[in-house]
Every structure is written in C-alpha cells, then in structure tokens.
Amino acid sequence: MTAIRDAFGKALVELGGKNDQVVVLDADLGSSTRADLFAKTFPERFFQMGIAEQNMMGVAAGLALSGKIPFVTSFATFVTKRACDQVAISIAYPNLNVKIIGAYTGLFSGHTGATHQAIEDISIMRGIPNIVIIDPADAEEMRQAVPVIADYRGPVYLRETRDEWPDIFGADYQFAIGKSTTIIEGQDASIIACGVMTSESIRAAAMLAKQGIKAQVINMSTIKPIDRQAIVTAAQQTGIIITAENHSIFGGLGSAVAEVLVEELPCWMRRVGIPDVFGESGSNQELMEKYGLSAKHIAEVVMHTIKKGR
C-alpha cells in the first residue's frame, strides 16, 4: 500500500532534478497534492499562484510558450471545472506543453464531500481536443507516468489519487501513453478499469474465480487516446465487457469503451462507476459501498452481465 499522491510528489522532485525546464504551479493546495515537495527542493521553479485557478492556467500557458514544462497542480474538480475555458483555449487550443494534475479524484477526496469530489473531470477533459488523459492505477504507475508525460510534447491531464491503495505493478512494469495492460487473464468476461478501480477489479476477479468465473482485468490507464485494439480484442475473447472507474458513468472510461465497441464490435457491456448523482462526505470504503464502486459490486455486475449474455 502506497499513497499515490506521495508517489506523485516524489516523482515530480526526481523529474525536476533531471530536467530544469520543469516548473510547478500551485493554487494553495501544495501540501495536499504533494507539490510542496518540489517547492522545497526547487523554490525558484515553483510558482505559488494563490487561490486563482483561471489565472494559474494562463500563466502555465505563458510558461509553456517560452519552452518550460509546467505542471499545474490543484484538485481535479478545480483544474477541470473552475478553469475549464482557460484549459481549453489558453492551453489545449494552441496545443501547449502543459501538464495538468488533478488531485483528489472521483469520490476519494479525504471526507470533504461533493464540493471537492471530481466525478466528471474525465468527461470534461475528454471533450476538449488535444488533451491526453491518464488515471494511474497505483503508486508505481504514477511514478512512471510523471517523467513519461514530461517527455510527451502536448497537454496532458493526469489524475492523482489521494490515498494509499494496493501496489499492483513492480519496477519491471513499463508505462506507456495509450497502452493498456492485461493484469489477469480470463475468458469469461473482461473488466476494463482505470485508476484505483483497477485494484478493486483485481479483487473482484479473485472473488469471481472462487465461483469458477474467470474474468480478465485490463488496466486502461490512458483514457485518451484509448487503446482501441485492446478493447476490440477483449470483446472478441470474452464477449462480455465491464468497465470500472472512479468517475461518473457518463463521459468517462465506460463511455470511451462503449464508443469503441459500438463502432467495432458490439457486445454485452455494463459500466461500473458513480451513478448520475453528486457524492457526499465519508470514508473511501463507505463511499465505494454506497455508490457501487466496491470489488463486491463489480463482481456482482460481472455475474449479472454474464447471465444476460448467455
């Protein structure tokens, strides 16, 4: 178990040591996003912008115009909604090399409730051209994603989960933008997951295995551009697709996968995610159970869908 935000903060410092073009912007949440580690190590390349996200996005655009690689950090809900037009017009339209880090993703916002939960951030960012969207599954994938997105030239939205989640990947794992990974093989159903729902899906697959159902688990950490081939192959292999995401069922991973399937290979499919409601305060476990994100719920959806598909 490693806190994914801690992995982000350390990776950012490591990146800063290797690449002096990397600069970091914060809107007074550095101690939460862990951008404060960078601030302590490279104060001259850290820009505190105050609680003013729209200006922060524009400043990042200007820094990128001058060859810098800005990492803009705040909560996912603020970087995608408060500053949406600035992201679209100041950054994405001119295709600038800005890395937008959205922390406290989905329902998992440290008990803060609906005002600080980002349940539609992927949906918003998917609608804006030019932006790559990544939701790492664990600390190792986050650690690797940070330097990879810095090397990629263009705007990236990186989701940063707050808390500790099970470690999935070892140092031998190789993260690449746009490439999914099959973590568990299985021929009865495919669970395509992103972010920390990948580890819930792995647990779901274990529950299903006890009942003789072999579900494969695919980590789809890049939501845009999505790994179309992997989705089509999964549909060919199992004919049953379940998506799992810490996000609204509208406009996120489930929608992206459905768009591919409906064009390439329609099959039985169900989306696990936050239904069309705002969240509330509560522990991650309580929220997962109440809003249907838990491993148990994923397993139930898989079984139900297999029954329907037969």
Binding site: G50, N55, G58, A61, L65, S66, P70, I89, Y93, P94
Partner: protein, 277 residues
C-alpha cells in the same frame, strides 16, 4: 525602422492609415470581423511593432524577442494588418481573412500565423499568459519585454484581476499592460453595461504603475512605453484613451460597429475618408 529624412511620427501615422485601410477592407470582404475595436487599437499596435518591440520578422519564434499578446483577440484584423505591414507574412494573406482554410482566423491562432504570440479570443485570458511569458523570461534571465493589449470591456472578466494581483505579487517589471479604453462594448457603453471605473485607482491599489495617455498620439504612446521600461519592481499599465472605430466617421463611438462588417459602399466611403486625411 528608421527612414532617412522622414519625420518618424509622420511615418507611423502613414503606416497606421495603411493598417486601417487593410482592416476595413478585410472585414468588408469577409463580411465578418470587429471593426470598432480593431480601429481603436491600430495606433497602439503600429507604435509597438514599428517603434518599440525588439522583433525580427524573419525569426518570429526567437526566444529573445519582445512579445505582444492581443488579449482582445477580436481585434485580430488590426494585428494581422500590422504584422503583414511589418513583414511577418505577405500582404496577400490579408485577403483570406475569415475564409475557410485561412491562416487568418477571426480570432488569432498562434500556430497558424507567424508573429502571433498567443492564441486569444476568449476574453480575459491574455494577461495571465503574458505573466507566464514574463516569469519564464526572468527565470531564463532574458531581457524580453512583454506587452498585453487589453480591451476595456474585457476588464469585466474576473481572471484579469486575478492576473493583475499576480503580476504585482511577482513584481514583473518586464510586463506592460495596455488598456484600449475605447469605452464601448458590444451592447453599449462600458459604463452602462458594467462600469469599470475608476480604473487608475483600481490598478494602483493592485500595486501597478499607472500611466494615462491619448492612445492615438504616437509621441504619447512612445513616451509611455519608454517610461514603463524605467519603472522597476512593479508592472506598468498604460491606460490609453481611444475612440472606437477611430478613423471612420460613421463608426466612431458606435457600439453597433463592434461586430458589424461594412458593405462595399460603406467601405468605399471609409477608404475615401482615410485618403482625404
């Protein structure tokens, strides 16, 4: 650009007249565009591109250059005409303005036009971009100057004041904001749509060095940009009083010419007026 034996102010005035003719012709031919707010800032842009900015049209992306961010992106025709006159791209391009597949979008796209430093058009965003460019220049110890041209109606956007606060906080003295104070916006006078005054004291209270000029008088524009350079430790704003639709009698101070294109007859009248002056 110094022409031997020619009064430099007279030369700037002639250049501005040529730019105004391009602006009206482009908008009339395309039947789209924003004549009022383009004509009001022509003299400011001509002064900057022909007498202030350290630029080389052959190297439009050179990092050492000074930059102009046209935050009021709807004045694109004035910028395009000035850039073309300055040699950033052929004058023939101007005839394509607003047409499908043209580099010259109705609001400027930096990836399509040499010399355009930022893509703008959604109001309120240019000052923040300018601050980012300014911070990068300081970080890399370049002595570039960054100018941001703002509309006065645009100052109603909250992001402008976030940026004004941040420019002052970071003490950026390589950045100069210029307000094109033409006092008219799309649906009426700025003072009735949403008053922004008292502007000088607003900027002063945000920690800015404030200069006020007549934005159609080249000597005043040049003096103010020079004075801004010698002000250290804080950003400078030049509040330039201008006339919306300047140079075209039937457009001046009229909000209906914010976004209306002149007919061919109106264009003929406007061009004849400019030739007479």
């Amino acid at each position: 650009m110094k022409l031997q034996g020619v009064d430099p102010i007279w030369a700037l005035e002639q250049r501005a007249k040529a730019v105004r003719k391009h602006v009206l012709t482009m908008i009339s031919h395309a039947q789209v565009g924003h004549p009022g707010g383009s004509l009001s800032c022509v003299d400011l842009l001509v002064a900057l591109y022909f007498a202030v900015l350290r630029i080389d049209p052959r190297q439009p992306s050179c990092l050492e250059r000074d930059q102009l961010i046209l935050s009021k992106g709807h004045a694109a025709t004035a910028l395009y005409a000035t850039l073309a006159e300055r040699g950033f791209f052929p004058l023939e391009w101007l005839a394509t303005f607003g047409k499908i597949n043209s580099a010259l979008q109705v609001h400027p796209d930096r990836n399509k036009v040499p010399g355009v430093d930022a893509s703008t058009g959604a109001l309120g965003q240019g000052l923040s971009i300018g601050l980012g460019v300014s911070l990068a220049a300081s970080l890399d110890q370049r002595d570039s100057r960054i100018f941001v041209l703002l509309g006065d109606g645009e100052l109603q956007e909250g992001q402008i004041w976030e940026a004004a606060m941040a420019c002052s906080h970071y003490k950026v003295d390589n950045l100069v904001a210029i307000v094109d104070l033409n006092q008219v916006q799309l649906t009426g006078p700025v003072s009735t749509v949403m008053g922004i005054q008292p502007l000088p004291s607003k900027f002063k209270s945000f920690g800015w060095n404030v200069l006020e000029i007549d934005g159609h008088q080249f000597p005043q524009i040049l003096e103010a940009t020079g004075a801004a350079k010698s002000c250290r430790g804080k950003p400078t704003v030049i509040i330039a009083r201008t006339v919306k639709g300047k140079g075209c009698s039937f457009m001046e101070n009229k909000s209906e010419w914010h976004g209306r294109a002149p007919t061919s007859d109106e264009l003929c009248q406007a061009l004849a007026e400019l030739d007479r002056d």
